[in-house]
C-alpha cells in the first residue's frame, strides 16, 4: 500500500513546477502547457483524496477538470493565435497592453 501522502507530495511538486513555468517562461504556449501541468496536479490530488476517503466524488471532479481544461486550452490557444496575428509574437514580455 502506497501512502496517499506520497501522491500528494508528487502532486505538490508537479503543481509547483507548473507554477514555476508559468512565472518564468516567456513563450505564451509554454506558459499554457505549464498551466496544464498545474491542472493535472490538481487532478492528482482529487484522485488521491478520492482514494483516501474511498468515495467516487473525486473522480467526477477530475472528470470535470479535464473538460474545463479542454475548453480553456481551446480558448487560450485561439487567443494566442489572435495575438500572434496582431503582434507577430507570442512573447509575453512584448505583450503589455493591460495597463491603465
Amino acid at each position: 500500500m502506497v501512502p496517499i501522502t506520497y501522491y500528494l507530495l508528487l502532486a505538490a511538486a508537479l503543481f509547483c513546477m507548473g507554477m514555476f513555468g508559468v512565472l518564468v517562461r516567456t513563450n505564451a504556449l509554454v506558459v499554457f502547457m505549464c498551466v496544464e501541468l498545474m491542472l493535472n496536479a490538481v487532478n492528482l490530488t482529487f484522485l488521491a483524496f478520492a482514494r483516501m476517503h474511498g468515495n467516487g466524488l473525486g473522480h467526477v471532479s477530475a472528470f470535470f477538470v479535464i473538460a474545463v481544461a479542454a475548453a480553456e486550452a481551446a480558448i487560450g490557444l485561439a487567443i494566442v493565435i489572435a495575438v500572434f496575428r496582431s503582434r507577430g509574437t507570442v512573447n509575453v514580455d512584448d505583450i503589455r497592453t493591460m495597463k491603465h
Binding site: 504556449l29 492528482l44 474511498g54 479535464i66 481551446a74
Partner: protein, 168 residues
C-alpha cells in the same frame, strides 16, 4: 517493498523528469512532447490510485486531443526555438522563488500528514473508480453540472472560432 510502491516510484520519477523538461526545454515542440509523456506517466499514477476511468480519459483527451491542438498551433505559428530565455526580471525571480517556497511549505505540511488509502469492502473494491460508478453519479447527482460543462465546451468552441479567425 511491494510491486505497487516500485511502480509508483518509477512513474513518479518519470513524471517529474518530463515535467521538468516541459519547463526547461528551449523549443516549444520539446516542451509539448515532454508534456505528452508527463500525461502518460500521470495516467499510470492514476491507475495506481484505482482511477482507471480517469486514466483512460486522461490519455484520450489530454494526450490525444489537447496536445494535438497544441502541436497544431505550434506548427501553425511555426515557432522555432525561443529567441532568448526571458531575462531575469525582479518579478521572474520573485515568482520562481515563491514557487519554490510554496513547494517547500507544501512538502513540510504534507510530510507531517500521514494519510492511508481507505480500506474498501468487497463491493466497494468492485465498483470504486469504475466507469459505471462515475457514470452513475455524473448522470444522476451531477447531471446539471455535466450539462453546464457541455454548454461550456460549446461556448468555448464558438469562442475559439470567433477569436482565432480574422474574419468570419
Amino acid at each position: 517493498m511491494n510491486i505497487e510502491l516500485v511502480l509508483f516510484g518509477v512513474f513518479a520519477v518519470m513524471t517529474l523528469l518530463s515535467a521538468g523538461l516541459v519547463i526547461t526545454a528551449r523549443s516549444p515542440i520539446n516542451s509539448a512532447m515532454a508534456l505528452v509523456s508527463t500525461f502518460f506517466f500521470l495516467a499510470g499514477i492514476y491507475v495506481l490510485l484505482w482511477a482507471h476511468t480517469v486514466a483512460v480519459i486522461q490519455v484520450l483527451v489530454y494526450a490525444g486531443a489537447i496536445m494535438v491542438l497544441f502541436l497544431f498551433v505550434i506548427m501553425l505559428l511555426n515557432l522555432g526555438d525561443a529567441p532568448h530565455r526571458g531575462k531575469p526580471t525582479v518579478t521572474r525571480l520573485l515568482g520562481g522563488a515563491s514557487a519554490a517556497g510554496l513547494l517547500a511549505v507544501l512538502a513540510v505540511t504534507l510530510g507531517r500528514m500521514d494519510a492511508q488509502p481507505a480500506r474498501l469492502d468487497a463491493q466497494g473494491q468492485a465498483t470504486f473508480g469504475t466507469l459505471a460508478a462515475i457514470g452513475q453519479s455524473i448522470f444522476t447527482t451531477w447531471l446539471l453540472p455535466f450539462e453546464a460543462v457541455s454548454l461550456l465546451l460549446l461556448v468555448a468552441m464558438v469562442g475559439a472560432v470567433v477569436v482565432a479567425k480574422s474574419r468570419i
